[in-house]
Symmetry: C2
């Protein structure tokens, strides 16, 4: 049994997690929210208070200022707050510093995204091997439970893989993780979380095909899929965190990730990327200033936190799994649908933050009551998925499972052909800009 | 008779002007090229030498370093070089400083664009009244010839207006100045001159309709026109320098300016503008840096100077003039076509710089030989257009004149209807972004 939770970070995902932790503080104990900007933590507490979400009012809910790159400061805060579980929802640049503080103090660690070095993007796969897994032995020695990637994707979709292997398949052939946001924020263009982190996902595509890492240009492979609730949407082959542990832990030939983008998003993204605005490398202005273009993009785009009040529509995230059960071909779609407006009504947040912020609290609840007691570093698919999915059903993210007739029109075609063929079939063309010699994809003239 | 020319600036237009001045230095005398960066001046001299363009080798061609915002330094350079004509082809932010130095030393001044204050865009029309015309009395008192806007547009198109009034019309009804670049630089996106100045032209549209200033959103009014040589092209109602003097000096009901843009240009421009990248107002980054987004755009786009070698196709710039002559309706198109590749072959420059850089040298030649001897501040349309057009015919920019059957299918429809009607007829729709509440135009979904 572990008590008292330290939430690090005060962005959109931390906002949701703090609400959900407060709503389950009979299990979790005291809750401290810490970030570089104290006022942002206090705003979250105001929101929780406004909603009357502190379930057990005998437990504390409070804020602290913290620079989480400062390991001794984080160690001191963990000790001072008597926290036995740290939920890290700060920037992905902070992960290894916070993990070090957890190892030093012997407390449980939960995060939702892979560590990133500000100066590097889309490093050699598997990404977990670059930073996290190098610290696995030290977690095991100290008996520290470190649960990596416990958001929705990565996180819940990893548990869906484990569930498919445990209950639905004798042998898995392919897994296609589909993430579509069919909601509308009403802005010309916005990202649903920190643009600086968001756009780093789209520099190039690392995907796991036929048990090998394959590299594709961003947005070069497109499929349509008729989703439950949200209907038919385009999705594009994309790289994503979860592939970097599932490729090691799940026995399947191919595991691919697909993200939904509308034509307008693809157009704006293509312009920004082709011109070099999404670069994390500084350029020199005529004023002599050295400026990272991506930081200017971040300054100009709407703050993702401001999108929530007007957001309408649904998200749908899930796994199409194909394989065999009892000698028969089988295909299932294990998925979750969230309604942006319902999320806002409940916790004053939009659906993207909601789907990412609820799962780490479910994970913390399982760590708190001893159900998940790894005593080492694990990715979510290495843990029993059923208690996790059961808590999520109860606290806001119910899972649905749909059987699909194999090889029918309703099936998802995740087969990736050679690039020239993909591009000739897609509605996009690859152009290489001399101004920015990365491959970019522009809409094909009609 | 005036001798010795000081060219201030060392960008693409100055490059062309220096070549043409060297090719006519028997009229102009010594040529000094001065700019903030001495090496850029020296590169121009190398290009002139490479091409063997110094006609009279007994005259000097040399470079000087100059910060032209420093009026005493400019005064000293004018005196040291014994220059009697200054051609100002530096940034539009420098104009009033350079003009002051010319008034102080009593030498002739020629520029090609209206003065701009870095902190202001699209000020109250007429723009010449904000800075230039306030100094007209002082030019007259000192007998200083100051010729404003002597590039192509403004410049040659102003002379075309004067020519129309002098030779082709008893009464002018409308003038539509059309500027289309039907060339291709082979880059994903680039501006043909300094992006910082270029995009300032497109913040909003001031136009002269029915003898009043009218304001329209950028790219909200579109027409097609079948140009000589380059064929049918879309043009958009645009604000432009020349309207701000022609509205005062030319007796016509409406004088409008139209600029050609392809769909791809409009798309990229719309994305950048709607997101706020074209703003001259600084934003604060998470690093604490204060950054002007437009300066980042400038740093990321190709240097206009680098476009020349691969540029192909033609420009066509001219005036559709409608009115009456000898009691009959008349319509003429007075225009000039330039070939990018031919410009490069001749002076190692592209056609946009060529059309802007040749006219101020023609003006300087007329000032040098006393043909244009205003002894005050004038705009080009106030001077005799015929000697100017005659020199241009001879030194690289020959004028063509085409009679058009009034009210035929070949006529240009410059009538501007109300905005709602224009937008419903055009292929573009107006959207207002909450992120950037300026009106922006996005392509209409088909």
């Amino acid at each position: 049994m572990k008590k008292n939770v330290l939430i690090i970070g005060a962005g959109g995902v931390a906002h949701v997690a703090a609400h959900k932790a407060a709503m389950n503080n009979d299990v979790l104990g005291d809750i401290c929210i810490a970030s570089r900007t104290l006022s942002k933590c206090e705003q979250i507490i105001e929101s929780i208070t406004r909603k009357g979400h502190l379930k057990d009012t005998s437990q504390k809910l409070y804020a602290r200022q913290l620079d989480a790159l400062d390991i001794p400061a984080t160690v001191a805060l963990i000790q001072e707050t008597h926290s036995e579980i740290v939920i890290n929802l700060g920037s992905a640049f902070l992960n290894m510093s916070i993990l070090e503080a957890c190892i030093e103090t012997g407390v449980a660690y939960i995060d939702t995204a892979i560590h990133e070095d500000p100066d590097k993007v889309c490093e050699t796969p598997p990404w977990y091997a670059n930073y996290e897994w190098k610290r696995k032995d030290r977690c095991a020695e100290k008996g520290v439970t470190a649960i990596l990637g416990a958001g929705f994707d990565p996180g819940v979709v990893n548990a869906y893989c484990a569930l498919a292997a445990k209950r639905y398949f004798d042998k898995i052939e392919t897994i296609d993780i589909l993430d579509v946001n069919a909601g509308s924020h009403g802005k010309y263009f916005a990202t649903n979380f920190d643009p600086e982190i968001n756009f780093r996902e789209f520099v190039k595509v690392w995907t796991w095909i036929d048990r090998e890492w394959k590299e594709y240009p961003t947005h070069s492979v497109k499929r349509m899929y008729d989703f439950p609730v949200v209907g038919s949407c385009p999705v594009y082959l994309n790289g994503h965190d979860e592939l970097h542990s599932l490729s090691k832990n799940i026995d399947a030939d191919s595991i691919r990730f697909w993200m939904g983008f509308g034509d307008h998003y693809i157009n704006v993204f293509t312009v920004l990327r082709t011109l070099g605005f999404l670069s994390h490398l500084p350029v020199t202005l005529t004023t002599g200033q050295e400026v990272v273009p991506l930081k200017v993009v971040k300054a100009l785009l709407p703050d993702p936190m401001t999108l929530a009040p007007g957001y309408i529509g649904n998200t749908c995230i899930g796994n199409v799994v194909k394989g065999w059960k009892d000698g028969q071909r089988r295909e299932v779609f294990i998925y979750q649908v969230s309604d942006h407006h319902a999320c806002y009504e409940e916790v004053e947040s939009q659906g993207i933050s909601y789907t990412a912020g609820v799962p780490p609290v479910a994970a913390a609840m399982l760590v708190a009551d001893g159900t998940w007691d790894a005593k080492t570093m694990v990715n979510v698919e290495e843990l029993d998925p059923e208690p996790f999915i059961a808590i999520l059903d109860r606290i806001g993210l119910p899972t649905e499972i749909k059987e699909i007739e194999p090889c029918s029109a309703a099936t998802f075609d995740g087969t990736v052909r050679d690039l020239a063929q993909e591009l000739s079939e897609s509605t996009a063309t690859v152009t290489v800009s001399a101004a920015n010699p990365m491959i970019a994809v522009a809409p094909k003239p009609r």
